[in-house]
Amino acid sequence: MNAPNKSGWKPSMEVADASGEMVTTTGNRALMLEEPLIFEIGKAETTGVDLPEVDPAMPNRMGGYDREEPIGLVGLTEPETVRHYTRLSRQNYGIDLGFFPLGSCTMKHNPRLNEKMARLPGFADIHPLAPQSSVQGALEVVDQLATWLKTLTGMPAVAMSPKAGAHGELCGILAIRAAHTAAGNPREVVLVPESAHGTNPATAAFAGYKVDNIPATPEGRVDVDALIERLGPDVAAVMITNPNTCGLFEKDFRTIADAVHDVGGYVYCDGANFNAIVGRVRPGDLGVDAMHINLHKTFSTPHGGGGPGSGPVVFSEALAPFAPLPYVEKDAEGELRIVEEETTDADHQTFGRMTAFHGQMGMFTRALTYMLSHGADGLKQVAEDAVLNANYILRSLEDILHAPFADSGPCMHEALFGDKDFGGGLSTLDLAKGLIDEGYHPMTVYFPLVVHGAMLVEPTETESKASIDQFITAFRHVTERALAGDEALKQAPYFAPRRRLDETAAARKPKLAWEEPTE
């Protein structure tokens, strides 16, 4: 492992300590370790598994398609493998390490019981096409989770197969499109607020719709008048995030929903922020027709550095018949079964299949475990504590930072700030990088787009008051430096595994796979 001069680290780049006296030749700094690429340390002939040697005389019935050229892979033994990934992992920040207030992403604690349950062979080691009598327990998980989701949202139906939030959005919009099509006209436009997450317009476009933006009011909510103004027979749906990405509850959601329904449109609610209201508010009571739920946000399944997620979609009566295949239902004998075939009665006009199998089972077991752990009372407390923590942060920083919607009422699960008044050309990005040095993962920056230099801080309910207090202290400190125009902030982070990375260079001449250096 760690051959000299193999990593990006060049021998000439010695590390100096504060006094400038101490240097290391390895590039390591005690427990902050450099690590080369597997291709720099692995070998084609090394392997970390023990399998029989390939016998060329063995029967070959592959039809003459033998792979003769080297594939170009390298192997590591198990000790090298464990060390490689352990060293890499130590260059990462995670919730387990500290506060991770990434707004809109809901970085809450991932309970370890969930992980343990998902690994039971009875869940992890069953095939999606196994005879259904042999997987009744798995189907019960799907069914119980579906029941929780329907009850919590107050909606009559749920599609379990979507693979993440954006896939759920797609599911919802496709159901809407199918419903319109069944009624004779798919319509053309989906209305999306300016503050919406990028997946909303992208999804609508992916499903073949034109996207029209709806402006926000100065108080950070959807401009209801502008929206109603825009409604018409061409509008297939509106997609509204509630609580919205400014962290506010859309008070007029019901009014909007009624107006949309009046013109024959459907209401899609982006439920990524359901964690703020779970157990306290049922979207079904607000006129929602379809809403995805990110199990990896509200229901604590881990983000894993970018997935997997899971995005079940709850549906109103109107859209339920159009839900995708497959789904789980109870037959006459009370046995659960997976419906995989299209049927063509009025109750079942499915828009089809969105993915090969039945959804993110591994996430279902985790989410159900989480729900059973909290129960109805605990989930309500989850929403309340998440909202309390966010308001506490909002009110503890509004005096020093620009808080554009501070007067719009309490925030929900996240607090939004802007970059006004920073000195010396300093930006939101500089403040974020300053927080890295303080031991935090920065908040979401430059989103939503409606606020200049946006900083979206979402604490979640799994953060203690002491943790939040320390964060506020650090955040105030870095903000003061930004306001004072402290030049040093421009170079932050100083202590992370890497200083600021050149993203422009990366995009200009993309290097997306390793190649043997030509020497």
Binding site: E53, L88, A166, F253, G305, G307, L372, L388, R395, R498
Partner: protein, 463 residues
């Protein structure tokens, strides 16, 4: 509650700082009509870890785990032995509890692993560039079709009849809304795929032709021939692979001229998981196509001190920058599954992957030979890797699979399950064999299959 750190004192202090008299004050913007008092009814209250664990174990206990029975299912999801260290790696809190690497200075772990993953996938597929993962093979397949329409500016996709039916359905589902025209067919039950029929369907309007390799019946095809036919008409060849282990023994789609190669990666590192989360792999042979790719890409760069580092790049293709003009709406992908895959692949390496593939093929040959000897069973395939199609006499294969399950053997996937209602296919059984299959398992399947087939032919069942 064990996951909620705030104490009642904390809550009181915090409300005071906020200037709210009760938590309800913070929910004033919720219209009255949506207020609930007390926890939502019809749901249980919170429970101890022990109680929840009991509940979940009871449910798990109602499933027949593959490890505890002779097991021959494939059809797009393969059971391989996952080394124990893979779980060690993906359980590291720094990987497990991280988000998408938006702050690269403190996400080099995820980023470097993705760069390595991309390189491995590209090489496995014989391509230039792979992305950082999509949801699964089936959605990757649709993304490939969509990309092909962007690249060629044509709207027609020709799908091989021997493409996994779920994949074909996903493509058709999407296409019905977006205006693509999808030409598809049912698989022909023949010992070798009929490429003529397929290539004859390619025309000047064809954006791409989509072929699975090995196909749903386990048959390999000469992709070179299809590539030539497609390229001759200006169409792209999209190749789908659902068993990456096969590419440890068989020529890569890229080598044979595929333009876009997509596939399912669960076979390495991820496991069966009842169908998800899985791992969508996506690669292109021509680096020029990179800017049309869907999903995240990790690229190499340098930091302010000149040290090598990695970042997410070319994000102007993506929804969070490009919104309605993005190449895909995907956001959260399959990061942790990619980590599991890349860790497993690193443990294997060139040598281990080739050995693994050889061992799969060896056992599959053994199984094919043995099962062919069962009266009433015919092997369809001329060639296969680790999965093949058997034609069974008597009642539909779907029922035979159930009979076998009643005898404790998970004997394969019936085409009847995959193509419900299609009579022409209902006597076919797909049998997958991997390194986890023992010779005893094969013997058990053979004898139980024989018993089931024989029993059926008796006027009065023996039992």
């Amino acid at each position: 509650m064990r996951y909620l750190p705030l104490t009642d004192t904390d809550r009181k202090d915090m409300l005071a700082r906020i200037g709210a008299s009760s938590i309800d004050d913070l929910f004033v913007d919720v219209p009255e009509i949506a207020w609930l008092d007390g926890p939502i009814r019809d749901l249980p209250m919170h429970a101890s870890e022990m109680a929840v664990e009991r509940h979940m174990k009871t449910l798990a206990g109602k499933n027949l785990a593959a490890e505890s029975t002779p097991f021959f299912l494939g059809a797009g999801a393969y059971r391989h032995h996952v080394p124990a260290s893979v779980d060690t790696v993906i359980s590291r809190g720094e990987f497990l509890t991280a988000y998408t690497p938006y702050q690269p200075e403190i996400a080099q772990g995820t980023l470097q692993m993705l760069f390595e993953f991309q390189t491995q996938v590209a090489r496995l597929y014989g391509c230039a560039v792979a992305n950082a993962s999509l949801y699964d093979g089936s959605t990757a397949c649709w993304e490939a079709v969509a990309m092909a329409t962007r690249v060629t500016k044509r709207k027609r996709a020709v799908l091989s009849g021997a493409l996994h039916p779920h994949y074909a359905q996903v493509v058709k589902t999407m296409a019905q809304f977006t205006g693509e025209e999808i030409a598809t067919a049912q698989p022909a039950i023949t010992p070798e795929p009929n490429l003529e029929t397929l290539t004859s369907r390619i025309d000047e309007d064809t954006a791409c032709v989509v072929v699975q390799y090995p196909d749903i019946l386990g048959r390999p095809s000469d992709l070179t021939q299809i590539a030539e036919a497609a390229h001759a008409k200006g169409a792209l060849l999209v190749v789908v692979n659902t068993e990456p282990v096969a590419l440890g023994a068989m020529k890569s789609p890229g080598e044979m001229g595929a333009d876009i190669v997509v596939g399912e990666g669960q076979a390495l590192g991820v496991g069966l998981q009842f169908g998800g989360p899985y791992l969508g792999l996506f690669a292109v042979r021509n680096p020029k196509h990179v800017r049309q790719m869907p999903g995240r890409l990790c690229g190499e760069t340098v930091d302010a001190e000149g040290k090598r580092g990695f970042v997410l790049t070319l994000s102007t293709r993506e929804q969070h920058i490009r919104r309605e003009k993005a190449t895909s709406n995907i956001c959260t992908n399959s990061g942790l599954c990619a980590l599991a895959f890349t860790t497993h692949m690193t443990l294997l390496g060139e040598k281990g992957l080739r050995q693994l593939a050889a061992e799969n093929h060896r056992l599959a040959c053994l199984a094919a030979d043995r099962l062919e000897k069962v009266p009433g069973v015919k092997l369809l395939n001329n060639a296969f890797f680790n999965e093949f199609t058997l034609m069974l006499d008597g009642k539909p294969a779907r029922e035979i699979v159930r009979d076998l399950a009643d005898r404790g053997v998970l004997g394969g996937v019936s085409l009847g399950r995959l193509y419900p209602g299609v009579e022409a296919l209902e006597h076919a059984l797909l049998v997958a064999v991997t390194e986890t299959t023992t010779e005893d398992d094969i013997e058990t399947l053979a004898s139980e299959l024989e018993a089931v087939l024989t029993q059926e032919n008796l006027v009065e069942p023996a039992q």
